[in-house]
Amino acid sequence: MGWLSSVANALHLHMSGEQLGALARAGVYVVLGIVLARLAAVAVNRATRHMSAQERVLLRRLASYLVMGLFFASALREAGFRFDVLLGAAGIVTVAVGFASQTSASNMISGLFLMLERSIAIGDVINVSGTVGEVLSVDLLSTRLRTFDNLLVRIPNQTMVSTMITNYNRLPIRRFDLQVGVAYKEDLAMVEKTLLDIADRNPLCLEDPAPLLIANGFGASSIDYQLSVWAKRENWLELRNRITREVKAGFDDLGIEIPFPHVSVYTGSASQPFPVALTTPSAARPPDAGPGPGGETAGGGPGAADVGGRPQSQQDPA
């Protein structure tokens, strides 16, 4: 106790030996509380292995806070703190703390609702206002996400409760909608059969719910289809990649064109096409001089000029 007296003297605190002893006991309570709270957390963690990660974290924290709270209260009492005074001032303190910690209290209550509602759990991949990431924890005040580019995002629980959340992990199967357009000249029956055959052959694509093909109508440059296929949640990304590749390969094999956006230009009347001549660059012209005003006509029959069409590499809109 001598060292405690020395410290008290150095700090010009005039404390009796009894007071110093009480203070030391309070310190022991605090340390003991921290150690026991950790042990309680470990014990709860072991006893709840069969539960979900979310429930385990919740129970672990509850046990930890409970033990720590009890020991801190004991430490305060040991140090001479009078709880009846605290209770007497509780009304005033509540008002003061309430004003000061309005946001924090709101976050805490929101966190409680989040945990009870169970709309998200630790490990789920969710989308909150455009931020997609894995839920690391649902804490007292905030929810922490790890995005796929490894950024830590802290979202206040109040925001989590009041905003729309999309949970990608909750249901075991998921649909992928492939949007694809084909040229107006194509045989649509063959296009539809090709798309459904591709879905049928892909083992990742669920047989039931059956693949769905929707004709979305006549687009500006193509007849647009939507191929909707279902996959096991874990296979969704692989299916998305594979089906896109397979549709492209299937269309290429059959010569089905997936057109780029293009615009047809007419000179005042649909029956009178704008005359266009393809030219070959003159050897005398410098390479950066741009197209010349005239030249040889290549395959120069009259027809509507497709501005765009399949673009050159430098014009590739993609």
Partner: protein, 274 residues
């Protein structure tokens, strides 16, 4: 699956399961229907290449053929297993799918009210390889990749299963024998008051054992699916053995999941998918 009966290769005939001693560092190849396997057992490392031809109907069977790396399929996937001092003996055994299988007959069969039918369906087996008979498992993979499907009344409730389309033959003599498929006899009993169209059936293969007959054919336990008189009620039960009088078969693999002989009660939709 610990009760598998193992025999020496020369005694197996056309059976691909059992144990096979491997020469150290030499390559040996198997072809079990569409599934191809090449194994090299080294002193410290085993290498296993696998490939699938994708032809589910093939009846090819090659056992422990001497080969070299140039004959390994270009698209084969390789697994290296670290094994120091393991005896170079390869154990192989069949297992049924790791999820239940939803069978869709090419042409639906109708079971009249009060009638019973016997259907034969074949499902691809998984090939389980291990070091020796009871050593560490090396691979457990399908002989043929099956399509996934969802079996349930809607996209919220149900379960993932595998889907296969079969001829669902009513006469056993018409059922083709393939080394990578096991035959299941399904008895469908319709005690309802109206016809039962069998256009989709869930076969609980995870709860079935595998049997081998004398000619290298694989069989599963006999399954009975019963539609009860009460609307919406159905039951499935499993009887040990193939359930075919002419077939003398011995049990070579246990079910993946021990479910007991009777399960899936009061859920007509869970069996017949309607």
């Amino acid at each position: 699956m610990g009760d598998a009966t193992y025999e020496a290769p020369q005694e197996r005939g056309s059976s691909w399961w059992g144990v096979t001693p491997l020469p150290r560092d030499a390559l040996r190849g198997w072809r079990i229907g569409p599934y191809a396997l090449w194994v090299r057992a080294g002193e410290r490392e085993w290498r296993l290449w696998r490939a699938s031809s994708g032809d589910a109907m093939t009846t090819e069977l090659e056992l422990a053929i001497e080969t070299d790396e140039s004959r390994i399929a270009a698209d084969a996937s390789l697994t290296r297993v670290g094994l120091t001092g393991a005896e170079p003996v390869l154990g192989m055994r069949p297992a049924l799918a790791d999820r239940d299988v939803v069978v869709r007959p090419d042409i639906p069969v109708v079971v009249p009210a009060g009638a019973r039918i016997e259907l034969y369906v074949t499902t691809p087996v998984w090939v389980v390889t291990s070091v020796g008979k009871d050593g560490p498992m090396l691979l457990d993979e399908p002989s043929h990749r099956l399509s996934d499907t969802w079996f349930g009344p809607n996209t919220l409730t149900g379960e993932l299963a595998y889907a296969i389309r079969t001829a669902s033959r009513l006469d056993l003599a018409d059922v083709p024998r393939r080394p990578h498929r096991a035959i299941t006899k399904l008895t469908v009993i319709n005690e309802g008051r109206d016809q039962l169209p069998v256009d989709r059936l869930k076969v609980p293969v995870t709860g079935l054992a595998i049997y081998a007959d004398g000619s290298g054919g694989l069989w599963t336990d006999h399954v009975t699916l019963e539609r009860r008189l009460q609307p919406g009620e159905a039951a499935a039960s499993v009887s040990a053995g193939p359930g075919v009088a002419d077939v003398q078969a011995h049990r070579i693999a246990e079910p993946r999941v021990a479910t007991g002989s009777r399960f899936t009660l009061n859920a007509f939709g869970r069996l017949f998918g309607v």
